[in-house]
Symmetry: C2
Subunit: 308 residues, 2 copies
């Protein structure tokens, strides 16, 4: 059975919450590790509703410093502390957020009783920003009014199988096999360097999920997300508002579909909707005309990623 790789939509609206839709936030469950992507106002309230012991999460990724993507972090961090958290929390963000969080906590005298490690996002290009036993995260540049990163989440397999026959044939002593299984290269007593990858059996194809908002229409980041299983893309407007989308550094649903089609992904999720749309069906119809495997990222819904 596949380990879980799930995305739960906590909020999917653009700047002003409306129509019952909260601002941007998603809870990812990769192999039972919980991650939060963006943290709009009310995220802790929506998190509590998932009943997923969400306060266990260890990693928060913030795409950019527009309020609808991070104004919920103050309350979430405070609540985690009140709930007795002691475990380190990793926050991946642009640098100014650290100062703002520190100022806020100082003013509220809201002592946070657990360590926070800040990891700043790259300002150009793409870069692996987080590697754990279960997943790897690559940040890449989007085109928005202020510096903004998308994230590619790729699962990893902590216990890979080694090719024992080949190891025996090569005369590599058993004492090194453990390290090779952990993907470490090892130095034999003979001075020979053994590349672990040569002795690890091919595992299952890792599943991937890319979060791509907020962004103006561009194909610049397509090479990073190419062939991803599922992607979530800025679909703030309909094509009838294409100029407005461009002016405000957002995409239309059709443009999101064009990105998905060009990148040859398995599935497109539409999100970051303008408050003007109460009914989201027309956005779905517009995107599907370009890329059939499209769904609305409805708030509260959990999407499970299978390989495509």
């Amino acid at each position: 059975m596949l380990a879980p790789f799930e995305i739960t939509i906590l909020g999917n609206n653009s700047a002003i919450p409306a129509n019952g839709r909260f601002p941007s936030a998603q809870l990812l469950n990769i192999h039972d590790q919980l991650l939060l992507v963006d943290c709009g106002e009310g995220s802790q309230i929506r998190l509590a509703e998932t009943k997923k012991k969400a306060f266990r999460l260890e990693h928060i990724f913030i795409t950019h410093l527009h309020g609808d993507h991070f104004f919920g972090i103050f309350g979430l961090l405070t609540s985690m502390s009140l709930l007795g958290r002691t475990k380190t929390l990793n926050i991946y963000c642009h640098a100014p957020l650290q100062k703002l969080l520190e100022t806020t906590l100082e003013i509220t005298k809201g002592g946070i009783n657990y360590p926070i490690e800040f990891h700043f996002l790259p300002e150009t290009g793409s870069q692996v920003i987080c590697t754990t036993a279960h997943f790897e995260v690559t940040a890449f540049q989007l085109t928005h009014r202020i510096p903004t990163c998308g994230f590619l989440f790729k699962e990893r397999f902590p216990k890979r199988k080694i090719n024992q026959d080949k190891l025996i044939e090569a005369g590599i002593p058993k004492v090194f096999w453990g390290d090779i299984q952990k993907e470490k290269d090892v130095l034999l007593d003979t001075g020979e360097l053994v590349a672990s990858k040569d002795y690890i059996l091919p595992g299952p194809k890792p599943r991937t999920y890319a979060y791509c908002t907020d962004t103006q229409f561009t194909l610049d980041f397509v090479p990073v997300i190419e062939g991803a299983d599922t992607i979530y893309v800025d679909s703030t407007y309909m094509s009838s508002d294409e100029q407005k989308a461009k002016d405000r550094y957002h995409c239309t649903a059709a443009q999101a579909a064009t990105i998905a089609k060009t990148a040859g992904v398995g599935r497109l999720l539409l999100g970051h909707f303008s408050s003007k749309y109460r009914n989201l069906q027309p956005l779905l119809d517009e995107a599907k005309a370009v890329f059939k495997l499209t769904e609305i990222a409805h708030q509260g819904k959990t999407f499970s990623i299978e390989s495509w």
Copy 2:
């Protein structure tokens, strides 16, 4: 018919939102003027649900700088700007909030397209902090972990009736009557100073509402709220947690009722509930045993103030 004097409960929970209850926030409608008291996370979402064109509000009062009382202000202020507000917004708060708001708006590049006027709360004693044609607000000290003010809202009557017979009898020229009606004292050509209050007919008894949270149990502020029509008081815990309430600078429901009884008010609303209570009935029962005219300030409910 009485002009409206209504309190709509947007959030009534203590620090950690739970059981569907949002953190502290109330919308007041005094003579069709809208005021916000506290602005916990999610207030703009709850405000939108009231469908009261809440973005018309001109005054926001923040009792103290614990996050559950103001973390919603960042999003609310940003949304107001996105919605095209141009009218001045008055914020009554402790001084550090101004700096924090300015830092936040600088980081998000969230230019606010309307003027904000900050009015800082007194650090000792009680003081009238706001007077408009329709209401007057007095801030007074509560006993909490950090500086905290309660607020007494008192309606005013913009058009008072003057005692024309008395004005004629005193020989006060008609040209001064307009100013006297507006409660201005006037200087006659004879050099005589006329006190407007001597010529204004008694109006209806002004209705009052006091917001008293967060606070440890104390009767210190009773003289300020004495005889108020309705008061909302910190009722975080049951009496069984009285020591915890004291340690955390909060009240029990019974203590809130004792304050109401001592102050001889018309009605007590219980609020700022601990997340541990899903069912609020026991808190109501406990308070009613001390002060009968008690109600739970249920989220979403609007309380209309009549004279008692």
